[in-house]
């Protein structure tokens, strides 16, 4: 527990400069709902904490030409209060709103949930299913990365020294698109997902024209499962398609046994959650 420095820059460049200069001893503070717990437990002892909540570019929810852009420091509560975003991306929105309690919603951020790189992060499978892309700023400038490529393992990301996620882009979806996220937890609230499933699909009348299916808490990172999507495409989500979806989802799982659930349980329930999410997504697509 050395002396920790706290900085709250109001520009992205300053933030990047601070992080780049701090040779790995720095941590980004967004909502702090993970960082402060790690600090208190002594798990981490950063020399510098960079609070990014004063950076305007990271705070907004805006509809742009390519789609909806969410600042990385946008909180769950802010998403929950944004009617237009919720109707455009109900699945992503409900996933973000599932992160923690009301109190945690007041702090926890979209970027934080992503960059904490927990395999069980609720917002991530929903964003992967939605085809979200992360906009990253760093010493070498800006770059973009598909959300599914950002986490590389538990607590590990593809971010390089000094890089931070600035915002997330939810691409414009074709008409007839709907998304949904579902998770299995032992209680009704306050739990980490044992399994999470995000589904985004586009219906062309009664046939599924396109789909993306992502799973959480069943591998070292959230998984995009193309085989599960293929089970849906071309079908009207009949029982056979659902069975194929469940089978593909379960087949993609490579979970661990832990205090929250067994391998077998995660594999079985991944299929169940995927099917339930798909039904909700279709319903939304056809509204």
């Amino acid at each position: 527990m050395g002396d920790m420095r706290y900085e709250a820059p109001d520009s992205l460049d300053q933030a990047v400069a601070l992080l780049a200069a701090a040779d790995g001893q720095a941590r980004v503070l967004a909502g702090g709902t993970d960082l402060l717990v790690q600090l208190r437990s002594g798990l981490i002892e950063p020399g510098l904490v960079v609070d990014i909540k004063k950076i305007d570019e990271m705070r907004g929810i805006n509809e742009e030409a390519e789609g909806w852009r969410l600042g990385a420091a946008v909180t769950g509560a802010e998403v929950g209060e944004h009617a237009a975003l919720k109707s455009a991306w109900p699945g992503v929105s409900e996933a973000i709103e599932l992160i923690g309690s009301t109190q945690v919603q007041g702090r926890a951020t979209v970027g934080g949930n992503l960059c904490n790189a927990s395999p069980a992060a609720d917002s991530v499978p929903a964003m992967i299913a939605a085809g979200a892309r992360a906009s990253i700023a760093g010493p070498k400038g800006r770059r973009e990365l598909a959300v599914e490529e950002l986490a590389t393992g538990p607590g590990q990301t593809a971010l390089e020294q000094g890089e931070i996620v600035v915002s997330l882009l939810l691409p414009k979806a074709p008409a007839g698109t709907g998304d949904a996220y579902l998770r299995m937890i032992p209680r009704t609230e306050m739990d980490i997902a044992i399994v999470g499933a995000g589904v985004c699909l586009t219906m062309d009348s009664d046939s599924c024209a396109a789909a993306r299916v992502a799973l959480g808490a069943v591998a070292e990172t959230a998984l995009l499962v193309p085989a599960a999507a293929e089970a849906l495409v071309g079908s009207n989500l009949d029982e056979a398609a659902m069975a194929a979806l469940a089978a593909a989802a379960s087949a993609a799982c490579r979970p661990i046994d832990d205090k929250r659930g067994s391998k077998e349980y995660r594999i079985k329930v991944a299929g169940v959650m995927a099917c339930r999410a798909a039904r909700t997504a279709r319903q939304r697509a056809q509204q």
């Binding site: 527990m1 437990s41 002594g42 299995m184 032992p186 209680r187 009704t188 609230e189 306050m190 739990d191 980490i192 044992i194 832990d258 205090k259 929250r260 659930g261 067994s262 077998e264 349980y265 079985k268 329930v269 169940v272």
Partner: protein, 756 residues
């Protein structure tokens, strides 16, 4: 003056706001961690990362050298104690074990076992100091599971445990501390006479009391050895007894004040950090505040036992139980002393039996020493028994309530633990269950309904109160039992009822150990019963004195003075014509009529009445995920007499919620390394608001003849039947029975798949 026979009460049975209420809703109330003293230091405890290890050495020199560190203590700062059971304030305690649980000595015996502690000028300095303490461990093999710990080749926690209660006493040390047995009747004949015999085994995991306020205390030892301790506890006098003993102090020189207590449920009846804070303060000669983190609460303070239970039940065609047998294997934690004894006594207590036998085993393993949790031990044995009763009812084609009614204990029944029952409310609770709308309500698909009953003895014990009449006619009632659920209100109500004054004229306060004689814990559902009994006695003494004073003033015989509605009145016309003297007028004249007026009572309350109850639970199971939703929960229980019905309901509802947590999700999860994996509220899953339905209550009142108002304790019985009621509802919904709790979704889904 009222008595139990007199039904018309002004205060008893009403729902006035509690006297400490405003402090509690404004944040003013002072809990264990809410006070500070000038020159105060902050303490922190270093805890074992190992489940079982020999402590080869502890080097505190670097920590002591850190600027801002004022004291460091370890095993060397606590004198060793002989291994013997000695009485300590109504309890039998082995201080050899207690001193080792407070601060590890030769070995650490569980993950989280205290090894050393520091007091420093700030929390961050204290945390840094802990990192500078060097402990050299020799890691030993550990054992977590109770059945594994009983194996002959299991790692030994203590080399001097020779199973008590078996003759001849074994000559080989083991982890089996004790064998206990209760029962009577001819078991063989009983099972012989049975038309149906069911034998089942069950497993339960340790659960924590889960009080929201972590253990917290503030110790201040002066240079001359006089000490004050402010702490969150269910019994300031027991804290004093234990700390004085462990620190070699005169009891008179340690003054313990109970803070407002943020939940206890039995878990705040022993000491953990209190002696450590005193030792640090004594060394630093400065006040030391020591507060557990949530992680420390889970790892190092008492959960209740996990257990393996075997039940064998025989019944005749007509539903009469012919024989009831149980064997209980209870985890004690790192030191002997599980709750297997009361568990054995309660297991079959609600029923009238001809032949019953219960054997219990008290087994140590590398877990935190268990401490009492609401009806210690009983919820576990009763869970197993009531599940088998349910299966038996189904097999005999009987309604589960009718089956229980057929065998229900009543006044005069020889209890399974020996003596005959006085008046009890078992039959009343079952009949109320049967008549309740809940029991008749229709069920949907994947839904099931379960019922179960339970019994707890309740206790009395040493109690001491003081009731002082002030010069303006108001009164202060001083009691020595911490208020864990509204007892200050109940005491004021009983005193007001006796005196015939306004409840608002009586302020109830919790005294420190210097202000009253010894009081046993607020535990065992004894407070409203025992402290209430003492309060009534004190009030009646005050009334006697008030009549004497009025007699003096009127110059008539005291027998000619009666006390009615808060005033002294002449007994009748021939006593003379006098205007009534109110309590305020008599208080004003107290000095002139003989001095201050006060009543006090020092009693060892006897005659606690058992409380029996029945609970009905509806659940819905998600067959694809194993998720369980509790749809409806009704608690029916005998209160004897509900002094403050709202707080009786609160006990019923809180107990029911704890049953639901215990049945569905709460458990200690240990890794291969013997370390606790879920020491926090994120993964130790107590029920949250959205998990629960409203919890309906029915208060039955079968008066306890030993209490002036008929009071029975109500705090513990509510946590007994609910677990089995949930389990029975789940098996009703699934058509299969799980043999372990918690019935977490993975376990439920596994059971569904295994059943095919």
């Amino acid at each position: 003056m009222n008595d139990a026979a007199h039904g018309e009460y002004k205060w008893i049975g009403t729902r006035p706001p509690r006297p400490d209420g405003v402090d509690k809703v404004t944040g003013r109330a002072k809990f264990g961690a809410d006070t500070a003293l000038p020159n105060m230091l902050v303490g922190a405890v270093l805890r074992s990362p190992h489940a079982h290890a020999k402590i080869k050495s502890i080097d505190i020199s670097k920590a002591e050298a850190l600027p801002g560190v004022k004291a460091v203590v370890s095993r060397d700062d606590f004198q060793d104690m002989p291994s013997e059971m000695v009485p300590a304030g109504e309890m039998m305690v082995n201080y050899r074990d207690m001193v080792r649980n407070v601060m590890a000595r030769e070995k650490v015996l569980y993950d989280g076992h205290a090894v050393a502690a520091v007091a420093a000028t700030s929390a961050s300095v204290a945390r840094r100091a802990l990192k500078l303490i060097e402990v050299d461990y020799e890691v030993l093999p550990h054992v977590i599971d109770v059945m594994a710990a009983m194996k002959p080749d299991a790692p030994l926690l203590h080399d001097d445990i020779f199973t008590e209660g078996v003759e001849p006493v074994p000559d080989k040390a083991s982890n089996v501390a004790k064998r206990i047995e209760i029962g009577f009747g001819d078991m063989a004949a009983g099972f012989e006479a049975a038309a149906e015999v069911i034998e089942r085994e069950f497993d339960t995991q340790p659960v924590h009391q889960g009080y929201i306020e972590p253990h917290a205390c503030l110790a201040d030892v002066s240079e001359d050895g006089q000490a004050e301790l402010f702490c969150s506890t269910q019994g300031q006098y027991l804290v004093r007894a234990h700390c004085a003993r462990l620190l070699g102090m005169d009891v008179s020189r340690l003054r313990v004040t109970a803070s407002e207590i943020g939940g206890g449920f039995g878990g705040k009846t022993v000491v953990y950090i209190e002696p450590v804070a005193l030792a640090l303060s004594r060394k630093a000669c400065r006040p030391v505040k020591l507060v557990m983190s949530r992680d420390e609460v889970f790892r190092a303070s008492g959960p209740t036992s996990g257990a393996h239970v075997r039940i064998k039940l025989g019944a005749a065609k007509d539903g009469t139980i012919t024989a009831a047998e149980a064997e209980l294997f209870y985890q004690a934690g790192a030191f002997p002393g599980s709750s297997v004894q009361p568990a054995a006594m309660c297991a079959f207590a609600p029923y009238a039996l001809e032949a019953v036998n219960v054997v219990g085993w008290d087994v140590v393993s590398n877990r935190p020493k268990i401490s009492a949790y609401r009806a210690p031990g009983a919820p576990i044995s009763v869970y197993a028994v009531e599940c088998v009763l349910d299966e038996m009812a189904a097999r005999l084609g009987l309604d589960p309530v009718d089956f229980r009614l057929k065998n229900a204990a009543k006044e005069g029944t020889k209890a399974a633990y020996g003596p005959k029952f006085g008046p009890i409310g078992m039959i009343e609770s079952l009949e109320a269950a049967k008549a309740h709308a809940h029991y008749q309500a229709p069920l949907g698909p994947n839904q099931g309904r379960g019922v179960a009953s339970g019994f707890w003895f309740n206790i009395g014990g040493e109690t001491c109160v003081s009731l002082n009449l002030n010069e303006d006619g108001t009164l202060n009632l001083l009691v020595g039992t911490p208020d864990i659920g509204g007892s200050r209100a109940s005491m004021a109500m009983m005193a007001a009822e006796e005196l015939g004054v306004d409840m608002a004229d009586i302020q109830t306060m919790i005294g420190d150990t210097g202000s009253l004689g010894f009081n046993f814990l607020s535990a065992g559902s004894r407070t409203t019963f025992s402290t209430g009994m003492a309060t009534v006695e004190a009030a009646r003494t005050v009334i006697e004195e008030l009549r004497r004073r009025a007699a003096k003033i009127w110059e008539i015989d005291v027998d000619a003075v009666v006390w009615e509605q808060g005033s002294a009145k002449p007994a009748g016309s021939n006593a003379g014509e006098f205007e009534p003297l109110s309590i305020a007028e008599l208080a004003k004249q107290a000095g002139a009529t003989g001095g201050p007026i006060a009543g006090h009572a020092e009693i060892n309350a006897q005659g606690a009445g058992p409380s029996l109850g029945t609970q009905i639970v509806d659940v819905e199971v998600d067959p694809e995920t194993g998720g369980i939703t509790v749809l409806r929960h009704t608690v029916i229980q005998d209160a004897g007499k509900a002094i403050h019905p709202a707080y009786v309901e609160g006990q019923y509802q809180g107990g029911a919620a704890q049953c639901i947590g215990w049945a569905l999700n709460e458990e200690y999860v240990y890794g291969e390394d013997g370390r606790l994996q879920n020491p926090g509220f994120l993964d130790y899953r107590i029920p949250v608001a959205s998990d629960l339905p409203m919890i309906d209550t029915v208060i039955i009142e079968v008066p306890n003849p030993s209490h002036p108002y008929g009071v029975r304790g109500v705090g513990e019985t509510p946590i007994i039947p609910g677990i089995a009621a949930v389990a029975n509802a789940v098996s009703g919904a699934l058509g299969i029975r799980l043999s372990q709790i918690p019935m977490s979704p993975p376990r439920v889904l596994k059971a569904i798949e295994e059943a095919g």
